[in-house]
Symmetry: C2
């Protein structure tokens, strides 16, 4: 059953809904989008110049590439690393594919070509490909669906294959991936093996493979694997059923639970399946789960995952800043899910959460110099955390690379009637939409540091169409061409646009204080500082000499104000806060005191505090950090 | 090298320092102490009537006894349960030994006799005894010191053997234990195997075996195993070195770190080694670690262990109430350590922490009906936790049993000049001290519910001696025979006592509010309720109908008052709190808000709240609980 007529493989983007997909918005052909300047451009530049190349070195150093050589019979030795480490190679390849699509690179192309050759050489005649099984124990194949990550790794192989086919037209990796996918369809598509993977991830990949090839059985397998979840397949496993999203069938699920990355990859896949099948029960579940996530289970940074144990989403309102897990991969999975929810619904709240996660819980996982990473992104550290150059569980670094290399895919979309801008960066955006024909926009802004955004229509077809601009819900105010517009939705301008037309949007990005829901026990009595979409934090090294991160408190009445550029952090804007340093000396060596013994007030000396962007923390010397700051009240 | 002349094996108690030990205080012969009435008597009664017998059933049901039968060749089958499950049998046997010493029981004696026979039958000819090794893999012996728990299990075997020898004179289990201990001395005492156990526990046992037998090499091995720790023996293991107390040599350690039970069992052993060797570096380390624990790493309940991950002590001030681990075994280990620190120093602060832990973090682990247990003792539960009747990791239940069966060991001590009362319960206390000769005291009190304690001298030698009564540091005031005495020390009465003399101590146990150190982020803006040594909590089922545990707040100005008996909890006294129910409706579906959007006040309706003893929570229907209560400020 194929319906290749639905497929348009000329649109290069990481998520490419078919013509019949239930989407309100359509991604652009990303080859026409260039982020030219500003924070996101700098992150893409660093990713290309430093991080992707470092990835090659680290995959070699960790033995991850060597594992494939051993599987291919090109080397001898013992397999090294985690059971799922093949996926690190595939994510890195996917990142290279998007990066090459952005701008050719002989070096990256050579690395990709070599590695794709290696992957092909490692593949078994029947299409199977997994170095753990092939090197360590051939009898292991499909025997440990709970923790073996075979389908998860296959999913990343497929995503990389699709990416190369889209950006370069080279289908060699796609062909490898498809042979494996065909084997998986044969093994899992019928009634012989009714299992599913303990770690979701293959679902998005199979939908994209369907979108790329028109082969409907890939979509059907994605649906089948999804529908098998929720019946206690993993009962008696290492964790409870929620961990694997196996406690409730997805169509009935009321809440988002379990291992954060698994839950969010799964949600991305389910949303994709809805888009291609129109199964409304899936969309309703996704909306319920998103409401649950944003009502009580997500961090101010967009990070998800409250528990180290099981790397999991906790109970509602269980959001400790210090023991926040907020794995970088969970932020990435949330970005993936929110992009798909945005396409499916057209609602700005999904682009808002995409933005919050991008600038905070995601960017925090990558050092400013591109050399190191956070796996865990806590919102408070008493002793200071060190970024790692790689990790025995190396899922996050290449995952960061693929998101950065494809950031430009997520700026804008089209509908029949116009173009929508979701994320703001100085950029060129070429789009085609039925109402307007080919359009080119030039966006000029220093967003997120400035809220001033100028959109120029560089060229357009001669017709009326609508330009929609997201006004973030966090904005206190926004002014579009002189008139106030409502935050939390899209401002729409329907005009007969001409080349040279300019639109000016001014979003209020003044620093502001943010209060937590009183049900979030772990940050009671604290406020956070935000500036535009960027969450700020205090770093120990910026404190007055006599203070520490426990003794400072801020005045909730005084407005935070801009401090000017913080040079050691590349000139990002700092925020100045009025506060005090409290004298906690009488609490030395005492954890708890009879309230009657306490004097009514703690002596406190006024001070000014410098807050810096959370994502930029831990880029100087080691020291503590906190996002939520006690108030003087 | 033996010095049997130092040993007095006629003194029946769980910790029996030698005559030359560096102790300020000496335990009593526990056969002369009877807790007659009140809370502790009831816990001992339930332990005897319900819990110890349930232990026999559960050890059978879990296969723990069957494992020993298989090892003994008396049964066939596969081994079941955790690698360390033999220790569950030994802890349960130790509990029976102390219980028989308290009051004979034909049924318990029969169970013990049968089980000791089984343990002996399972022992290898060379003395080795571990059902995992014997049943699963004989080649495993001493190969997994990090996680194998072989020496840990041996330690519990030794402690049980010592207990039977002391209470019944039956040395059959001691003989088995000693044969194994001799093998361990041969294997680990020299330079052939320089390892030590990943899980401390054998140290206290070896010291007690030395104390029981006079064989100095057991003490020396305890010292050797202790001194080997701190040099990275477990580098490259599953956890970091701190987990195993292997990051710093104990004599240099500045802080208490790692797996809570391991850290505290180790501390108990180190204190015992100090007591018998006089190695001052060990005592200094213990004092530093105790200060570290009580300054920043212990819960109001006395519980220890802030992290589920690694069951570990966290960073200083990292004390989340909801994700508190506070394993029941950690409370028990803390009780063990504090008893030893009390003996060694004679300082009341150790008896204070013993008391805090006993009435809160320890008793919470045992249901009122004696049928079920908590492994984790959180200070907040949003959804309600269920006690378990047993657990795949069944370390806590039999550990609870041995503490309850030996509670009477810990009421009092002697010095050359008198008798010291540390824990108060209606009891008969027979003691012998050089100054007084044989003395019998009758204590009458409803402590901890009442602070009125009457001590009657039932009989005494005709000489002047000193009666010392601990005045808890938590007390706002105390009056001894009409005169105020200072909390936080011992009130001393030196008299020529006569039979019939009575002393009346009145400790203020009125309900009080307790504030946390501002550095403890997780409970900022909250207060706790205490009454005497008992920590209280709110249980969801006691709230007004319109309230939940997040919406209530208490007035920090109004004093909490007695509410009267709470009948569903066996008539324990409740505490009434003036508070409010806050209307949090506008926070529905919203985690974070711009502070400018918030109205200045939240509407709140006055209410009265009922607090119940924390240890008694989760004994009715399932529901949430919190110890730390937000204030209206």
């Amino acid at each position: 059953m194929t319906n290749k007529d639905e497929i348009d493989t000329t649109i290069v983007t990481s998520v490419a809904p078919t013509a019949s997909a239930r989407v309100q918005l359509r991604p652009l052909d990303a080859t026409g989008v260039v982020i030219e300047d500003g924070l996101l451009a700098e992150r893409q530049r660093v990713n290309r110049a430093v991080t992707l190349l470092r990835g090659a070195e680290e995959l070699e150093r960790a033995g991850t590439l060597e594992n494939l050589r051993i599987a291919a019979g090109r080397a001898r030795g013992s397999r090294r690393g985690m059971v799922f480490s093949d996926s690190d190679v595939y994510k890195w390849l996917e990142a290279i594919a998007w990066e090459i699509g952005r701008e050719p690179s002989a070096e990256l192309e050579r690395l990709a070509h070599e590695t794709i050759g290696l992957v092909g050489a490692a593949q078994e005649p029947d299409g199977y490909l997994n170095s753990w099984c092939q090197v360590v124990d051939p009898a292991w194949r499909w025997t440990d669906l709970e923790m073996g990550h075979e389908l998860y790794c296959a999913g990343h192989l497929i995503q990389a294959g699709v990416a190369f086919a889209r950006t370069t037209g080279d289908v060699s990796l796609l062909t490898i991936a498809r042979r494996f996918a065909d084997l998986i369809c044969d093994v899992f598509g019928g009634d012989d093996n009714t299992g599913t993977d303990g770690h979701p991830g293959i679902e998005v990949a199979l939908v994209e493979l369907y979108r790329q090839t028109g082969e409907r059985r890939y979509l059907e397998l994605a649906d089948t694997l999804t529908s098998r979840r929720g019946f206690g397949t993993f009962a008696g496993g290492r964790f409870d059923l929620e961990y694997y999203q196996d406690a409730e069938p997805v169509r009935e699920a009321r809440s988002i639970v379990g291992h954060a990355v698994r839950a969010l990859y799964f949600a991305a896949g389910v949303t994709d399946i809805y888009a291609e099948t129109g199964d409304e029960a899936l969309l309703e579940s996704m909306l319920r789960q998103w409401d649950d996530l944003t009502a009580a289970k997500s961090y101010l940074t967009g990070g998800v995952g409250s528990r180290h144990y099981g790397e999991s989403i906790g109970d509602p309102y269980e959001l400790p800043p210090d023991r926040a897990y907020c794995e970088t991969c969970a932020a990435i999975a949330s970005i993936m899910w929110n992009w798909r929810m945005l396409l499916v619904t057209g609602e700005s709240r999904f682009a808002d959460l995409f933005e919050r996660t991008l600038y905070n819980g995601f960017l925090s996982g990558h050092s400013l110099d591109g050399e190191s990473f956070f796996y865990v992104n806590a919102l408070q550290s008493r002793t200071g955390d060190r970024r790692h150059t790689w990790n025995p569980v190396a899922c996050c670094p290449p995952n960061v690379m693929r998101v950065l290399a494809s950031l430009h895919h997520y700026l804008a979309t089209t509908t029949d009637s116009g173009i929508q801008l979701h994320q703001y960066a100085s950029s060129r955006i070429r789009a085609v939409c039925p109402a307007a024909g080919p359009v080119e926009l030039a966006v000029n802004t220093d967003y997120p540091w400035s809220g001033a955004i100028e959109v120029e229509v560089v060229s357009t077809g001669d017709a009326e169409w609508t330009l929609s601009l997201r006004i973030p819900a966090w904005a206190r105010a926004a002014i579009l061409d002189g008139a106030p517009v409502e935050p939390g939705s899209y401002a729409e301008l329907t005009r007969n646009w001409r080349a040279g037309d300019k639109v000016t949007l001014e979003i209020d990005v003044l620093p502001r204080l943010t209060a937590p829901n009183p049900r979030i026990d772990a940050v009671r009595g604290c406020l956070a500082v935000e500036r535009g979409p960027v969450v700020y934090c205090l770093e120990e090294q910026d404190l007055p000499a006599e203070a520490d991160l426990a003794s400072v408190a801020i005045d909730s009445v005084a407005d935070p104000v801009d401090h000017g550029p913080v040079e050691p952090l590349g000139g990002v804007p700092g925020v100045a806060l009025a506060g005090v340093v409290r004298d906690l000396e009488r609490w030395r060596q005492t954890e708890y005191r009879d309230l009657q013994e306490l004097p009514a007030t703690v002596s406190a000396a006024p001070t000014q505090l410098l807050a810096v962007p959370y994502f930029a923390w831990a880029n100087r010397s080691q020291g503590g950090m906190r996002v939520w700051i006690p108030t003087t009240d």
